[in-house]
C-alpha cells in the first residue's frame, strides 16, 4: 500500500539528489584531508602548467636577448630566482586552495547532514512492521 509520508520524504530526497546534492554528496564521501589534499594537488599541478606556459612565452619573446647574453648570465642565480618565484606563486595558490576547499567540504558536510537524517528516517520506515 502507498505510504504518503514515505513518498513525500523520498520525493524531497530525490529533489535534493538532483540539485544541490549532485555536488555535495560526492564531496561528503571523502575524508576532509583526502578531499582538501587532492584538490591542493590539482591546484599545484594547474599552477605549475600555467607558470610553465607564461615562462615559455616570456622566453620565446626574449629569445634573442637571452641567446646573446646566456654566456654572461649567472645561470645558478637565475634558476634560484625562478624557483623562488615559482615557490611563492604556488605557495599562495596552495594557501587559497586550502581555505577554499576546506570551506567547501564543511558546507557540503552540513548540507548532506539533513539528507543523511532523511535516509535514516526512510530506513526506519522500512523496518517498522507496518511497512
Amino acid at each position: 500500500m502507498l505510504d504518503e509520508s514515505r513518498i513525500k520524504l523520498m520525493t524531497r530526497m530525490a529533489s535534493y539528489e538532483d540539485t544541490e546534492g549532485k555536488k555535495m554528496i560526492p564531496i561528503s564521501h571523502y575524508f576532509r584531508s583526502d578531499y582538501v589534499g587532492f584538490n591542493i594537488l590539482k591546484t599545484a599541478v594547474s599552477v605549475t602548467i600555467a607558470f610553465g606556459i607564461v615562462l615559455g612565452i616570456y622566453l620565446f619573446c626574449n629569445i634573442d636577448t637571452l641567446l646573446a647574453e646566456v654566456y654572461k648570465m649567472d645561470l645558478k642565480e637565475v634558476g634560484r630566482k625562478l624557483l623562488s618565484l615559482y615557490a611563492v606563486i604556488v605557495g599562495i595558490y596552495i594557501f587559497i586552495a586550502f581555505l577554499l576547499y576546506t570551506y567547501r567540504y564543511n558546507v557540503a558536510k552540513k548540507s548532506v547532514r539533513s539528507y543523511n537524517n532523511a535516509l535514516r528516517r526512510l530506513a526506519a520506515m522500512y523496518n517498522t512492521p507496518d511497512n
Binding site: I57, F60, Y93
Partner: protein
C-alpha cells in the same frame, strides 16, 4: 505593487510548469547571442561565421550544461583567429588555458559570467555585472568576471590590431609574438575594470548577507557608490582615462537592473519582521523571520446558487 507581485507569481507558476522547455530555450538564446557576437567581432572563418552554423551549435548547447558554451565559444574564437593568423590563434589557446588553470577552475559555479561580461561590454552596460553578481553569487564570481573582462579586451585588441597581426611584414616570429603579448599586457584598462568589479562584487555580497533590514537595497546602493569610486580611483592610479558620465549612466542602469533582480529574487516585507527566541538541548536560537511579499492570484469560481428557471409547461 500588488499587480507586480501578481505578475511575478504568474511568471513563477509558468516557469515551474514549463521549466523543462524554458531552460533549454534560455540556454539556446544565450549561446546564439554569444556565437553571433563572436562572429560579428571576428568572423574571419567564413564557414564558421555562417549564422546557420551558430544556430546549430546553439541548439546543441540547449541540451548541454551552460558552461559548455564557454568551451564552444573559446574554440570558435581560436578557429577565427587561426584564419587571421596562426600566432594569434596560438596565443589565444594559451590565453584560454591559463584562464582556466588559474582562475576558472575555482569558480565553476559562476563561470557563466565569463560569457555575460563580454556581452555586457558589447552592449555598453558592463557596470551591471558586478552588482548583479554580488547579489546572486559569491565573491569567487569575481574570478569569472575577471576572466570575462580579459576575454573582451583580448578580442578587442585582436580586432583593433587586425591589419598589423595579419600582415606583420618582414618581422621575426619572436618579434610578432612579443608585439602581440606586450600589446595585450600593456593595456591597463583591463586592470581598472578587474579591480573595480572585484571590489564591488565583494562589497555587495558582504552587505546583502548582513542581518539588517533592507540589506539588499543597501547592498545595491553601496555597490553602486563603490563601483563609481573604485573605477575613478583605479583609473587615476593606472593613468587610464575613464569617462565619468558613462560610468554614472552605466551605474544608474545597473541600479535599475539590480532592483528588478531583487524584486524577483528577494522581495520581503520588513514591516512584518518577527523576532523569536527558543532553545533546544544544545543551543539558544535568536531568529529573525522576515515574511516574503506575496499576493496570490484570486481563484474566481462562479457558483450558481439561484434555482434553475423552470419552464411553464414543466410546471403544468
Amino acid at each position: 505593487m500588488a499587480e507586480l507581485l501578481l505578475i511575478k507569481d504568474r511568471l513563477k507558476i509558468i516557469y515551474g510548469r514549463y521549466e523543462i522547455f524554458i531552460t533549454p530555450v534560455l540556454k539556446f538564446i544565450l549561446a546564439l547571442i554569444t556565437y553571433l557576437v563572436i562572429n560579428k567581432k571576428l568572423g574571419y572563418m567564413e564557414n564558421l561565421a555562417n549564422p546557420v552554423f551558430a544556430i546549430m551549435m546553439a541548439l546543441v548547447n540547449a541540451f548541454l550544461p551552460v558552461n559548455i558554451i564557454i568551451l564552444f565559444a573559446a574554440v570558435m574564437i581560436c578557429l577565427h583567429l587561426y584564419r587571421m593568423s596562426l600566432i594569434a590563434a596560438a596565443i589565444a589557446v594559451l590565453f584560454f588555458v591559463i584562464l582556466f588553470l588559474i582562475f576558472l577552475r575555482f569558480s565553476a559555479d559562476s563561470a557563466v559570467a565569463v560569457i555575460f561580461a563580454p556581452l555586457l561590454f558589447v552592449c555598453h552596460i558592463p557596470y551591471v555585472l558586478p552588482i548583479c553578481l554580488g547579489l546572486v553569487s559569491n565573491p569567487l564570481s569575481a574570478l569569472s568576471a575577471a576572466c570575462g573582462i580579459g576575454v573582451y579586451f583580448f578580442l578587442s585588441y585582436m580586432t583593433a590590431n587586425e591589419a598589423a597581426i595579419q600582415n606583420p611584414g618582414d618581422v621575426q616570429l619572436a618579434d610578432q609574438v612579443r608585439s602581440i603579448v606586450s600589446g595585450l599586457v600593456s593595456d591597463k584598462t583591463v586592470l581598472v575594470y578587474v579591480i573595480a568589479f572585484a571590489v564591488t562584487i565583494v562589497v555587495v555580497y558582504i552587505i546583502r548577507r548582513l542581518a539588517v533590514n533592507y540589506a539588499w537595497y543597501i547592498a545595491i546602493a553601496a555597490g553602486a557608490v563603490v563601483e563609481i569610486i573604485t573605477m575613478l580611483f583605479a583609473g587615476a592610479a593606472f593613468n587610464v582615462k575613464i569617462s565619468v558620465p558613462s560610468v554614472l549612466l552605466g551605474v544608474l542602469l545597473a541600479i535599475i537592473i539590480a532592483l528588478i533582480l531583487q524584486f524577483f529574487l528577494f522581495s520581503v516585507d520588513y514591516t512584518r519582521t518577527e523576532y523569536v527566541q527558543f532553545e533546544d538541548e544544545e543551543y539558544y536560537y535568536h531568529v529573525k523571520a522576515v515574511p516574503k511579499l506575496m499576493v496570490s492570484a484570486t481563484d474566481k469560481q462562479v457558483k450558481r446558487i439561484s434555482r434553475a428557471r423552470v419552464r411553464s409547461h414543466d410546471r403544468d
